[in-house]
């Protein structure tokens, strides 16, 4: 151990460069992990965090809420399907919103999700993660996603939809309930219909975009999905988790990031392995001499492994420290979070891969023959 630290102290620059490379890689991996999760949550969080266990789209909608339209015939088919207890219409539109809480008077793309409130605002499609305030219990009231509060969508603020003067008052905040990575308001279905009329006087009455369904007693959400889909080829029922995961773009985002993570994950052990292999070559003669004067091979290998653990560990620590302040920020409407599970997962994986990659160098050390000290040969030959 003494040998390992002494060597690192004497060659600070080379070990510091390796730590810097690993730290940058760790930072990039963790940052992109947060970016991926933030992007997906901002994209489909409202679908995951609403109360209907089953959502029914029209096949034409291709699993995009705003693209789907449920005709009266389709709604009747859903209501009569076995396994359906309650059905509620859900409508969604994107508007230009001007929140009163924004000091600069900025306007934002604002998603409005309308659902039938029910007696206490807890109707089918209501947000399930209200962390502040309350659910809407009247028209022109809204619950907003927590990511939007900083933009001026706070409780007590009003949002004016442009053009026109339709105003909606915010009464509650829900966690992770954004849709389309834009400020998202949950309002009554009537408020949603009024909003459409207020910005487009030519508009006809919109059809519900999707139907929220509560399964009957004795039916699971999956059984209800099957039952509804059996009614018509125009109906596309999904559990809410499937609806979130199968929203167009989500799987592409995940696939793209997975390829990026794989490549970064491969670079870390390659850099570590290469570094220690070269260092082992460089000190071949010294290692041979140490073996000749009685140093056991095990001690030399453990010295190498200690260096690997310290270097990769330092890289992980610095990378995580770089990642922490970045993970507290928002990026173009995407809320980043410190992903503890990602830090643990990547730390264990990269440390294991780092140690594994150094085994090539360890094998070189083990193959040293002390007799070579007398012939001038070493592990490098």
């Amino acid at each position: 151990m003494f040998l390992a630290f002494k060597e690192m102290a004497r060659a600070k620059v080379r070990f510091a460069l390796l730590i810097a490379a690993i730290a940058l890689l760790v930072f990039l991996i963790l940052f992109q992990q947060s970016l991926q999760n933030g992007l997906i949550t901002g994209f489909i969080g409202a679908i995951r965090e609403q109360s209907a266990p089953v959502l029914v789209y029209s096949v034409d909608g291709q699993r995009v809420v705003q693209g789907s339209a449920i005709t009266p015939e389709m709604e009747a088919q859903v209501r009569t399907a076995p396994g359906v207890r309650e059905v509620g219409p859900i409508g969604q539109g994107t508007f230009t919103g001007k929140p009163s809480g924004n000091a600069d008077g900025e306007t934002f793309d604002t998603t409005i999700i309308g659902y039938e409130l029910g007696p206490d605002g807890n109707g089918i499609g209501a947000p399930t993660t209200v962390v502040e305030g309350r659910l809407p219990n009247a028209d022109n009231e809204a619950v907003v996603s927590d990511a939007d509060v900083q933009l001026g969508y706070g409780i007590g603020d009003s949002v004016t939809l442009l053009p026109g003067a339709k105003s909606i008052t915010i009464v509650g905040v829900a966690q992770d309930a954004q849709l389309n990575v834009s400020p998202t308001l949950f309002v009554s279905y009537e408020t949603y219909l009024d909003a459409i009329k207020s910005v487009n006087p030519d508009a006809g009455t919109p059809l519900p975009n999707v139907l929220g369904v509560v399964p009957a007693d004795g039916y699971t959400a999956e059984q209800t999905v099957t039952s509804i889909n059996d009614q018509s080829l125009d109906l596309d029922a999904l559990t809410k988790d499937d609806a979130a995961a199968q929203t167009p773009g989500v799987s592409q985002v995940q696939q793209s990031f997975n390829i990026i993570f794989l490549l970064y994950g491969l670079v870390v052990p390659c850099v570590t392995g290469l570094f220690f292999l070269i260092v082992t070559f460089q000190k071949a003669n010294s290692l041979t001499l140490l073996r000749a004067i009685g140093a056991p091979a095990g001690r030399l290998v453990s010295s190498l492994l200690i260096q690997v653990i310290v270097i990769v560990g330092a890289g992980l620590l610095i990378g995580t420290l770089l990642y922490y302040p970045v993970s507290q920020q928002s990026l173009g409407g995407i809320t980043l979070r410190f992903e503890t599970s990602a830090v643990v997962f990547w730390s264990v994986l990269l440390l294991s891969l780092g140690v594994l990659s150094s085994l090539v160098a360890a094998r070189r050390v083990l193959s040293i023959d002390p007799i070579e000290a007398t012939t001038g040969q070493g592990v490098g030959s």
């Binding site: 034409d60 693209g67 005709t71 919109p206 167009p248 409407g333």
Partner: protein, 367 residues
């Protein structure tokens, strides 16, 4: 330099690991760049194709077609602006399309545009009920002469031919007459329908140094006008995607630089005594350093070429409609150039070490 290249030829194994790492980093750079290009290309083609000096939305639309409405009176104001020579209305609707021969749940995503002024590469609008289609829709089995059905109303549209690079929001575009667009919009999106002569946006041709600014001034802010490049950047998410990806690409390049620096610093340390001998024989520091740079450039160039080929193969293997990867020669070349610059810069870490080598150290240190 000859010596350095000779070493590369005779002991390629010594450089193999560095080449593998740099290949991985080059793949990362090209993949990230290709992903960015793919995302931007499939989102912005319909706007980029516009042959115009200004794209005009209504003042509160935030550059969104669906939230924009241009009434005939507002259009007349735009037409009266000095320097404006041609004005054409444009609108779109995004729907699912049923394709003959495909399964009943297997729909193609399309964005149907109604237009008055033809974009670059798109012929004049065909008669009612017909449309030009972006060639990407062929992946869904659409052929010329085929009638596809749009939206829940299953409005029939005959495809009369194909155009290139005009996609919008990741969807294959269809280009039709304004009447066709209005008909499809009313039948399938009653909440978004517009009156006769109302468009979502205007495509404006003309001259003048700042036509968008002149239009917005003339309409007293009732319009929100952009150049074509500005309209592309204003599409929600485009600028954010570009900034994020460019930052990630920048840090990846910094990693490449550190890796190259690390590798050649180690190599220099390993060969200090050898360089001492070379210096003792009369070799200049600049010659030795040039050899190192040559090695770095060759190793990086090989890695970049392998990476370029692998990314091109990856592009072929990825099925259409999954990952939006667009591999272009420009992206490959720019990635290679950036990597080569990183290689030279990374190598310069070793310059000080080479300069410090004392020829006298050669005496008695090498056998």
């Amino acid at each position: 330099m000859k010596l350095a290249l000779k070493e590369l030829r005779r002991r390629p194994g010594r450089f193999a690991t560095a080449t593998i790492i740099l290949t991985l980093i080059a793949i990362l750079l090209m993949f990230l760049g290709g992903l960015l290009d793919g995302l931007i290309a499939t989102s912005t083609g319909a706007i980029r194709a516009q042959n115009a000096q200004a794209i005009v939305y209504s003042g509160t639309a935030q550059a969104s077609f669906v939230r924009s409405r241009i009434e005939p009176e507002l259009r007349a104001q735009v037409e009266a602006v000095e320097g404006v020579t041609e004005v054409g209305g444009i609108g779109n609707v995004q729907l699912g399309a049923r394709v003959p021969g495909n399964g009943p749940r297997d729909l193609a995503s399309v964005a149907l545009f109604g237009y008055e002024l033809a974009p670059d590469g798109v012929p004049d609008a065909p008669p009612f009920g017909q449309a030009w289609a972006d060639e990407t829709i062929k992946a869904s089995g659409v052929e010329e002469g085929m009638v596809i059905e749009l939206g829940p109303a299953r409005t029939p549209i005959e495809i009369v031919g194909f155009v290139k690079d005009t996609n919008f929001n990741g969807q294959s575009s269809l280009w039709a007459s304004p009447d066709t667009w209005r008909d499809v919009l009313s039948a399938n999106r009653p909440d978004a329908q517009v009156g006769a002569d109302v468009f979502q946006a205007l495509v404006v041709r003309g001259d003048g140094t700042d036509l968008p600014g002149a239009i917005d001034a003339a309409t007293a802010g009732a319009t929100d006008s952009y150049t074509v490049a500005g309209a592309v950047a204003a599409i929600p998410g485009v600028t954010e995607q570009q900034n994020t990806f460019n930052q990630i690409i920048g840090v990846t390049l910094a990693i490449a630089l550190v890796v190259i620096g690390l590798f050649f610093a180690l190599l220099t340390v390993e060969r200090t005594s050898l360089y001492g001998v070379l210096k003792a024989l009369g070799a200049k520091s600049s010659t030795i350093f040039a050899g190192l740079v040559a090695q770095a450039v060759v190793v990086t160039a090989i890695a970049a070429l392998i990476a370029g080929a692998l990314v091109a193969v990856l592009d072929l293997l990825i099925p259409p409609g999954s990952i939006p990867l667009l591999v272009t020669p420009a992206r490959i070349v720019s990635s290679v150039v950036l990597l080569l610059v990183a290689a030279v810069l990374g190598c310069s870490f070793s310059l000080r070490r080479v300069l410090r080598i004392d020829p006298a150290s050669a005496i008695g240190t090498t056998s």
